[in-house]
Symmetry: C2
Subunit: 161 residues, 2 copies
Amino acid sequence: MMTLKPFPLTRQAFAIYGEVLEAEGAEHFITNQGLAMRFNDLARIDVEAEGGAVKVSVFKTKARPTPIRLELMERHPLGSQIFYPLQDRPWLVVVCDDPTDGASFRAFAATGVQGVNYARNVWHHPLLALDHDSRFLVVDRKGPGNNLEEIKLGETYAQIA
Amino acid sequence: MMTLKPFPLTRQAFAIYGEVLEAEGAEHFITNQGLAMRFNDLARIDVEAEGGAVKVSVFKTKARPTPIRLELMERHPLGSQIFYPLQDRPWLVVVCDDPTDGASFRAFAATGVQGVNYARNVWHHPLLALDHDSRFLVVDRKGPGNNLEEIKLGETYAQIA
């Protein structure tokens, strides 16, 4: 069994998979009668293929049992997908270039003020929350067509260190 | 000076202004390998007028000084706008049908697990956070055209009870 060690989630490290949505280091300006900073336009929303449109949902999830075992990966051929934590709790992100190539897997430790936008067609693990009753805002695609591919990882893969 | 008393934010009470984004009472199904509930498709995203597209941003805001005085209202003629709290903190929502008609103003007390989507052209007050360093995820419109109308309320309006 392969063991993945999570690295800190940074824009640079995640760039080939999509965007990290966070205030730090983002373009911003003052708004809201001078009281707020707007960290602007943080994600490339890509949902319009084959008649798709944006959908906003809330996930409420249990914690992953530990040690966390990765049993499948998925991707969305027709749309990008944002997960943003709603409680300032750390969580995990796992992506890969090729689910049949263990060397291509990457695990990232996201903070509670970091969301991610998986680009269209990027292989990623389903949501990995570390605490019970964790909520996330999800911005993804609705519309016709098959927007889900899943691949089971079998006995080989993987656990998070 | 008019004083507005906030009422609890409910889907029904807010329906003529847009949607309340919350898990409670929403259509949902199990996902994420059985670990999560997805409260699905909570908002009518309406940003495509005049070549618009969806934009996702983070707001970091100071608390409103109390007593909270309302000095202006705004609306977005080309797009809907979601605000969703990122820290499970209560906040306030103020809307009206006509900013020149005090009787049309409504204040709502939103919980920390309720977001709102202001429908296109709905008059609303800029973001009203009650605590310092409050963060919100915002889903609104980018694109050409003038998407902001503001009206100053003058001496008349209003404070929150």
